[in-house]
């Protein structure tokens, strides 16, 4: 089926007067049938029996990593924002010195230790 014909078929199939069964059969004819990889039923049964975890280990791992990354990243962003807010409140500004932990106040005890006066 030509691309233009397929596009027309898809659009016409959604019309009120279209017969859904005929439309879906024609789409199937054009695109082939949808199915899972061979042995799908066996993988489901293995999973039900508790022995099929390994089959999906890779996908589960990716999914877990996504979730973990998502949580760590959000927690990290929240911690950084809190730190910046607390620094701004305690120091009154967010200057470069504040980031480095260098206060603006003159420390007499440090001068005394260095100069002896």
């Amino acid at each position: 089926m030509k691309t233009s014909d397929l596009k027309k078929l898809m659009l016409d199939s959604l019309g009120n007067d279209a017969d859904p069964q005929t439309a879906s059969s024609r789409i199937e004819e054009a695109c082939g049938d949808y199915d899972f990889r061979t042995g799908f039923d066996e993988r489901v049964m293995k999973r039900l029996e508790g022995g099929g975890e390994a089959v999906l280990r890779e996908f589960d791992f990716v999914r877990s990593m996504n979730t973990v990354f998502y949580r760590i990243a959000l927690t990290g962003i929240a911690a950084i924002v809190l730190l910046l807010v607390s620094m701004a409140l305690s120091e009154g500004s967010l200057s470069f010195n504040t980031f480095l932990g260098l206060g603006e106040s003159y420390d007499e005890s440090m001068v005394y230790m260095l100069t002896g006066n």
Partner: protein
């Protein structure tokens, strides 16, 4: 041709046998309905690496909820509801993740593996349908999948999705408009 045979009577005996612990009977249910689930899941998720995962989850959830199946609806309708709900959950989860952390979207995770090897023409047609569906709003995508890939009438779609027929009709009309715009760009 999509198989629309009424298996109700046969399904009931398979359900009874499955509940009694006959795993072969449940295996028969999986074989009988796996293509139907594949059309919904792969239609809505595309040929992504997670489609089979969701497909398996559908049957595992069915297995664990078989004792809650009252037989008021057909088994196929019950399975479709599970498939649609799990697929929509997966779409939400992926949308949340990819919109936050990835500029590329999830298209890179597709693996175009058409079950029916077919010709190059079939592959291109399947890819076009896939791309068009994936570009649609999930609310419309589910309606279009039920119509285009499953061949369900408006009434059947409404029953599966638990929506009034009027809502399905209005979404179909809006889906048609959206699909027109998408297909013009493809």
């Amino acid at each position: 041709m999509i198989d629309r045979t009424d298996n109700s009577a046969d399904d009931s005996s398979l359900i009874r046998a499955s509940l009694a612990g006959d795993t072969r009977a449940f295996g028969e249910i999986v074989r009988r309905y796996q293509k139907m689930v594949a059309r919904t899941v792969r239609g809505m998720l595309g040929d992504s690496v997670f489609a089979e995962d969701v497909g398996q989850e559908v049957f595992i959830k069915l297995y664990h909820s078989l004792n809650e199946f009252r037989g008021e609806a057909k088994l196929s309708t019950y399975i479709q509801r599970i498939a649609v709900n799990l697929t929509l959950n997966e779409i939400k989860r992926r949308k949340r993740f990819f919109s936050t952390f990835s500029q590329k979207g999830n298209n890179e995770m597709y693996e175009y593996e058409i079950a029916d090897e077919g010709t190059q023409e079939k592959r291109e047609a399947a890819e076009l349908v896939n791309k068009a569906l994936q570009a649609m709003d999930p609310r419309f995508r589910v309606i279009v999948t039920m119509r285009l890939l499953q061949g369900y009438s408006t009434k059947e779609t409404a029953e599966i999705l638990g929506l009034p027929v009027g809502t399905v009709l209005s979404r179909l009309s809006r889906a048609q408009e959206q699909l027109k715009g998408i297909l013009e760009k493809l």
